[in-house]
């Protein structure tokens, strides 16, 4: 029982970061309509930003959180203006290839600048642990989880209370709506894409503390985010958090209870996804 609860806790904590990254992807997919293969590269930028400030200035990654948000927002905005906007009318596959090219470009720029080495930061609280009776909670994963939830809550408030946010949701639900509301779709797209990048950037800072910074750190998160977004239903922002939770819990349960489970985590992640997609498609005719 104790082990089960600890396992569920582990899964729960991991789901926060998953949800944060995947929400960004869901924003760019649902609002802008772009399948962004370079999403994980915004995350990678956040991780490197955190590493650089730590290694050169001794700056705590906590400070990098805000900086990464702004920097990724800016880069995301530029990418939108320079690359995404021109291909918005193009077929979906062309957009996919564009973002794929962007992903290769950014990864290899990072490789040129920093090399392929794995880099780590060392804030004092890195391995700090909260003990609740028999349970252990890593302070950093817990903090990342809370922060992710906080950000997602703020995003929710923004989407439901502000005019721009409402417009964004309107676009996500119906691509014709913004025209009716008299809102510049372009502005909404820019904001959504920038926000998507910014969320990934923040997640990158967190991951620089939990994992590491390297040019390829983003890839697996792009992959998992796609899985989460697909499970939630494309463009369904609200479904992202539960979907992230389902997949994170599945991972945690497998690696705890299956013999040799550590090597099966990804397979199970994708098996759950596969069954969910197929099951849903066959249920609803």
């Amino acid at each position: 029982m104790e082990l089960l609860l600890q396992t569920l806790l582990n899964g729960l904590l991991m789901s926060g970061v998953y949800a944060l990254v995947a929400t960004g992807l869901a924003l760019s997919l649902g609002v802008v309509g772009i399948v962004n293969f370079a999403h994980g590269e915004f995350l990678m930028m956040g991780a490197f930003l955190s590493y650089l400030f730590f290694a050169l200035q001794g700056l705590d990654p906590l400070f990098s959180l805000g900086l990464a948000f702004l920097a990724a927002f800016l880069v995301g905005g530029l990418v939108y203006q320079g690359l995404i906007r021109p291909v918005l009318p193009a077929p979906e596959l062309n957009q996919m290839l564009l973002t794929f090219g962007l992903s290769i470009l950014l990864q290899n720029l990072a490789l040129l600048l920093f090399g392929a080495d794995t880099r780590v930061v060392a804030p004092s609280y890195q391995a700090a642990t909260l003990t609740l009776g028999p349970f252990f909670l890593g302070a950093v994963p817990l903090g990342a989880f809370m922060l992710s939830l906080g950000l997602l809550f703020l995003l929710q408030v923004f989407l439901t209370r502000s005019r721009l946010g409402l417009a964004m949701r309107a676009v996500a639900q119906n691509r014709l709506a913004p025209g009716l509301l008299g809102i510049e779709a372009d502005q909404v797209y820019l904001l959504a894409f920038g926000l998507a990048a910014a969320l990934a950037g923040v997640a990158g800072v967190m991951l620089s503390v939990i994992l590491y910074a390297s040019p390829t750190v983003g890839f697996i998160f792009t992959l998992k985010s796609f899985a989460i977004v697909a499970l939630a239903g494309l463009g369904n922002l609200k479904g992202v958090v539960p979907a992230a939770l389902v997949l994170a819990l599945a991972e945690a349960l497998v690696s705890t209870y299956l013999p040799g489970g550590g090597g099966l985590v990804e397979a199970v992640f994708f098996l759950v996804l596969f069954l969910a997609l197929v099951g849903r498609a066959w249920r609803s005719p």
Binding site: V35, L83, P86, V87, A90, P91, E92, L93, N94, M96, L97, L98, F100, G101, L102, S103, I104, L105, L106, Q107, N108, L109, L111, L112, L223, F226, A227, A230, L234, G260, G263, L264, E266, A267, F270, L271, L273, F274, L277, V278, A281, W282
Partner: protein, 305 residues
């Protein structure tokens, strides 16, 4: 007949590949033959991906078909010889495709893409965990026909390309094309038009997977070694998708031109730019999409809408 106007281009490329070993290329001959080998295989992969994409199914499982074919052929080749092993590998890939296709019939676009990605990842883990595949250590594969004929691997890969081109060309210029295009644009409308949507989708996926499986089988016989991470790599599927978009979608000429240019370009950039060549590679992909939205064949001017 305007529609057959691509045939001279296709024949030109195929003839070029067929004669490559006999062209007077001087000291570059052997190198170009090796590059040509991989261009043919990856172009065949791209053609088979395009064949599937014409029904609107964005396959990310081509790496898995490739891996199934590679392992099927690699495991059997020491016992039954080269050609039967390759055919067996292709059938294994085909069986995988039918399994995937029949359960994902109702998934479209990105949903299908992600389901096929998931399928591919699960299969890779299986190859890693099952005992008879050699697991993570990998599987040595004998060269084709006991290695007696140096050009064997090259002409096997040419054969795969020829088959892929023929299938793709047939699908492009037969009534099958209309069925595929209708399925892609709207399955509901296609049904009303009397297209057997299920059959078209499954056939396309099956044919595509057979070609991908053959590519995998021949690949293993050249690299002499398979590992799950290499054979089932997602990168293979992504390359199969990048080439058609780069060259021009839903056609035979597009993937063919795309494969020759892109795989060749990658080899050339790596040898001559060396460090950071992938930055240039990524930039070229972006530029082509921005300025040639129809891919390289867009340069040729007219295309069907």
């Amino acid at each position: 007949m305007r529609e057959l106007s691509h045939l001279p281009f296709l024949s030109f490329f195929l003839l070029l590949f067929a004669l490559l070993p006999f062209l007077p290329l001087g000291i570059w001959g052997a190198f170009l033959l090796d590059v040509g080998f991989f261009i043919q295989l990856f172009t065949a992969m791209a053609l088979s991906w395009d064949l599937v994409a014409r029904t609107g199914q964005l396959s990310l499982a081509h790496g898995a078909f490739f891996g199934l074919g590679a392992y099927g052929a690699g495991l059997l080749a020491p016992h039954v010889g080269t050609l039967p092993a390759l055919v067996f590998g292709a059938f294994v890939a085909g069986a995988g495709a039918l399994l995937l296709g029949s359960v994902t019939l109702r998934l479209h676009g990105l949903y299908f893409a992600i389901a096929s990605l998931a399928f591919s990842e699960v299969l890779r883990t299986l190859a890693l965990k099952l005992a008879f595949t050699g697991g993570p250590i990998g599987l040595p594969v004998p060269p084709p026909f006991g290695g007696v004929w140096p050009l064997a691997a090259y002409y096997l890969s040419f054969g795969v390309l020829l088959l892929a081109t023929a299938l793709s060309h047939w699908a492009e210029w037969s009534p099958f094309r209309l069925a595929q295009a209708a399925t892609r644009q709207s399955e509901a409308v296609a049904r009303v038009l009397g297209v057997r949507v299920v059959r078209v989708k499954l056939w396309s996926l099956l044919l595509g997977s057979l070609v991908a499986g053959l590519s995998g089988g021949v690949y293993g016989m050249k690299t002499l070694f398979l590992s799950p991470y290499d054979a089932f790599s997602l990168g293979r599927a992504v390359e199969a998708l990048v080439i058609p978009i780069f060259g021009g979608l839903y056609s035979t000429l597009g993937p063919l031109v795309g494969g020759v240019v892109l795989v060749g370009l990658e080899q050339a950039l790596r040898l001559w730019i060396k460090e950071g060549y992938l930055v240039v590679y990524g930039a070229i992909l972006i530029l082509v999409i921005l300025f040639l939205p129809r891919g390289l064949v867009g340069l040729l001017g007219r295309r069907r809408g």
